[in-house]
């Protein structure tokens, strides 16, 4: 294993690839407000980040990555367009031993906040990462969460169903279960049937008061609203099988980017809502070619990036050591516009970025692949 000094030096060497073109080198704090991270990621982040307490600032978290700290930095600076690079340690709590992953390790990254030309910014990030990593001969993969969200938004079904699917985009199994239910493939739970039958005979308010004393913060009006929603849901026609198949076809795509683009164009014929996302992909691929990226060596996976804890909602990418599948990605990144919207309280600042693990780069370059 390389020593910490060696990894730090490697991080500096890699950071040099990100210099120029108005890139500012910044050093966000190790301690981050726990509330912000918990609010974003939910309870799962507690299993993956170290939580500590400050008597004055309250609960703090040791940064589990740089994305959120960099966005907070950027929001505070009030700047519109900016580019940042950073190098430093991140801290990951582990509930069980994970081979190849340390509890603290270095990340070097580049983040671009720029609304002018998203495709160009994405291509630039990918090309710069590819250039920094070229000697390792890594396998590159990419995807685009925006395709799936566009497909969901284009489903001919009710807005609440679309919202429920959107909410679980990053939880593939739950997403699948919801889709099956909306397609009429799953059985209606017994208690739900009883409740719907009761609603035929009784007012919802009455059903609630029959159930017992009202306790807790969730008010009867909220319970009534959900009952109404369940009634509407039961009356809605199922999502047709061909629409579900289109989503399945989309998620199965695993091709070279140009073949993937052809398949997506085919799907978009039946699902016009997909077109803007397909056009974005096309512009991105053109921009990548413009940056000299050899697209035939990159694999496009439509399902890529759906299980990471990050908030990526568009372009996603990663670089892997091909012969060492148990290792984490050597580098990864993507677009996270929604994250900036949450952290900047509604003011969206389109952003794309990524990080490299310099420790892994060093290890691989010594051992060979």
């Amino acid at each position: 294993m390389p020593s910490k000094q060696e990894v730090r030096a490697e991080a500096a060497r890699l950071q040099a690839f990100f210099r120029g073109a108005g890139v500012r080198e910044i050093e966000p704090d190790v301690l981050q407000p726990a509330e912000t991270l918990l609010d974003l990621y939910g309870e799962d982040i507690r299993a993956r980040a170290y939580v500590t307490a400050d008597p004055l600032k309250g609960e703090q978290m040791m940064r589990p990555d740089f994305t959120v700290p960099v966005v907070l930095w950027h929001v505070e600076s009030g700047a519109g367009e900016a580019r940042y690079s950073y190098a430093g340690e991140v801290f990951r709590r582990q509930e069980r031993p994970e081979p190849g992953r340390s509890n603290e390790y270095f990340q070097v990254g580049l983040e671009i906040f720029d609304a002018a030309d998203p495709a160009e910014a994405e291509a630039e990030i990918f090309a710069r990462f590819a250039a920094a990593l070229v000697p390792l001969g890594l396998r590159a993969a990419m995807g685009d969460i925006g395709l799936l969200t566009a497909a969901v938004q284009g489903l001919v079904t009710s807005a609440p169903r679309r919202a429920a699917l959107m909410r679980h985009i990053w939880r593939p199994r739950r997403f699948r279960a919801l889709l099956d239910r909306y397609a009429g493939r799953a059985k209606v739970p017994h208690a739900r049937k009883l409740l719907l039958a009761a609603l035929e005979r009784q007012a919802p308010e009455e059903i609630i008061s029959d159930a017992g004393l009202i306790v807790g913060l969730r008010e009867p009006a909220e319970i009534v609203a959900r009952m109404r929603r369940l009634q509407e849901e039961a009356a809605e026609p199922p999502i047709p099988a061909h629409a579900v198949e289109m989503i399945d076809d989309l998620l199965e795509i695993r091709e070279t980017p140009s073949n993937a683009l052809d398949r997506l164009r085919d799907i978009a014929v039946d699902l016009p809502a997909l077109e803007p996302a397909v056009e974005r992909l096309e512009r991105r691929l053109d921009a990548m070619r413009g940056h000299g990226v050899d697209l035939d060596s990159v694999e496009f996976e439509a399902n890529y990036g759906r299980t990471t804890m990050e908030y990526y909602d568009g372009f996603v990418f990663g670089f892997y050591a091909g012969g060492r599948p148990h290792l984490p990605p050597v580098a990864s990144g993507g677009r996270y516009d929604a994250l900036t919207r949450v952290l900047a309280r509604g003011r969206e600042i389109p952003a794309v970025g990524g990080m490299i693990r310099p420790g892994l780069v060093l290890e691989l370059s010594r051992e060979g692949l």
């Binding site: 509930e95 429920a164 159930a211 017992g212 306790v215 807790g216 909220e222 319970i223 609203a225």
Partner: protein
């Protein structure tokens, strides 16, 4: 050295443990005064009894400071990360049964399964500006269960006692707690989600995978497990 057997130091759990071993011809006695935390295991040479609070036994087993210990499976799964690599279940003891469950107010007539809880949590967060709070002391077990179930928009709030009261006191919207009869839940106007069973716990004899074993300890272990096997 003597084999160290950790057993709960007080209450019904201790009595039942003593009874369980007694019924298998292994009479456990506390030595010295009532207040002294030591004892002996009759019939087998080379076993030291270590009386500990049931909550400390998982930690001592995981660290390998005791070879064997009696505690609830709930505490082992909650307190020992990656527990299977650190301890091994030798015998379920048939007492101390308790279910770790998720319960919500009875008046939530729209919520019966975990899926409903997830949908309610989404709407609750929009309406109240914070995540739906679940009070518990079993953070790891509850978090893993809800992650598997794909529940989002919730948060855990720590509650070390009187957890069922948190909903009425408006410090949580739901609870995840141990219950045996469900009576306390009913008294607090709560109901169990029909698929909300997180873990079914009972008192269990565990063996540490981390404790060092010398010849004498191995001998004592062989004799002890031999006797237990005979009983079956």
């Amino acid at each position: 050295m003597a084999l160290k057997l950790g057993v709960p130091s007080k209450g019904r759990l201790m009595e039942k443990t003593f009874d369980w071993f007694g019924a298998r011809g292994l009479e456990i006695r506390r030595t010295g005064s009532e207040r002294e935390y030591s004892g002996s295991v009759g019939g087998v040479e080379g076993i030291d009894l270590v009386l500990l609070s049931a909550g400390e036994i998982p930690r001592e087993l995981a660290a390998g400071r005791i070879h064997l210990g009696v505690t609830g499976t709930d505490l082992v799964r909650e307190r020992i990360p990656d527990w299977e690599t650190r301890v091994e279940e030798l015998a379920a003891m048939g007492f101390g049964q308790a279910d770790l469950i998720i319960a919500v107010p009875k008046c939530w007539v729209d919520v019966d399964i975990v899926d409903d809880l997830d949908a309610a949590a989404a709407a609750f967060r929009i309406a109240h500006g914070h995540r739906l709070r679940i009070a518990t002391k079993y953070h790891r077990l509850v978090r893993e269960f809800l992650r598997e179930a794909g529940v989002a928009d919730y948060q855990l709030v720590d509650s070390q006692g009187a957890t069922e009261g948190t909903v009425k006191n408006l410090t949580a919207e739901a609870v995840a707690d141990i219950t045996s009869t469900g009576e306390t839940l009913r008294a607090n106007h709560l109901k169990i989600l029909s698929d909300g069973l997180i873990h079914r716990s009972q008192a269990t004899l565990f063996k540490s995978r981390r404790a060092p074993w010398d010849a004498a300890e191995r001998r004592a272990y062989g004799e002890l497990t031999g006797r237990l096997a005979e009983f079956r």
